[in-house]
């Protein structure tokens, strides 16, 4: 699971039927220090409560689609939680 910041929303009218009614969000993946890592991705929201500006964690691969009620949806990143608090022990990070 990776950390990410929700930076926007997506509206798509023509889409796969399994994606009907599903909230799509644009997420910038982050490293634990808050720096961006890689390009923004589109993720589905498994918490139903994530919105732009929020720090979230998401899961990729097959498990990404399992955050939704409907299975076998064509999804590769799913938001599983909103981060309330993040603690990083800087001394513990190996060099």
């Amino acid at each position: 699971m990776q950390l990410g910041r929700v930076i926007g929303t997506v509206v798509a009218t023509q889409k796969h039927e399994a994606l009907q009614g599903v909230k799509l969000l644009i997420v910038q993946p982050l490293l634990p220090d808050g720096n961006p890592k890689g390009r923004p991705v589109v993720a589905v929201d498994g918490t139903a409560q994530a919105g732009p500006g929020e720090l979230i964690f998401m899961i990729g691969g097959r498990e990404g689609s399992l955050v939704l009620e409907k299975h076998f949806t064509p999804v590769d990143q799913g938001i599983v939680g909103i981060v309330e608090e993040l603690y990083v022990a800087v001394d513990a990070i190996p060099k």
């Binding site: 699971m1 990776q2 950390l3 490293l31 634990p32 890592k37 498994g46 918490t47 409560q49 994530a50 964690f57 899961i59 691969g61 097959r62 498990e63 990404g64 399992l66 955050v67 299975h71 799913g78 599983v80 939680g81 909103i82 981060v83 309330e84 608090e85 993040l86 603690y87 990083v88 022990a89 001394d91 513990a92 990070i93 190996p94 060099k95």
Partner: protein, 105 residues
């Protein structure tokens, strides 16, 4: 399964129902020597690991769901399954190494 080092924790209130009651830790994947290997990731912890400890985590969905007693649709994959006390390995040059990772930072 992979070696990792616990570098932090994550607190979340609003989350997917299958994550209720689970402990989430930030893990830096490492080589047996302790050098970092990949970008950090968030893992579910079921063995009471703590910050600074070297651990073994797995990144496989079906094993994770079985360990956590979830239905086949549980969206969980990375799970910490062991805290490492001692590592012995042979490197590419054939040298034997021995490392006892500290349990503190």
């Amino acid at each position: 399964m992979f070696f990792g080092k616990v570098i932090g924790n994550v607190v979340s209130v609003i989350k997917h129902k299958d994550y209720y009651g689970l402990k989430l830790l930030l893990v830096q994947p490492v080589y047996p020597s302790g050098a970092p290997w990949q970008d950090p990731l968030i893992c579910v912890d079921i063995v009471d690991a703590g910050i600074g400890e070297t651990i073994i985590y797995l990144d496989e969905g079906n094993s994770a769901r079985q360990l956590l007693g979830l239905e086949p649709d549980g969206p969980v994959r990375p799970v910490i399954v062991a805290v490492v006390d001692e590592i012995r390995w042979r490197d590419d040059e054939g040298m034997l190494h021995h490392r006892v990772p500290p349990h503190e930072q």
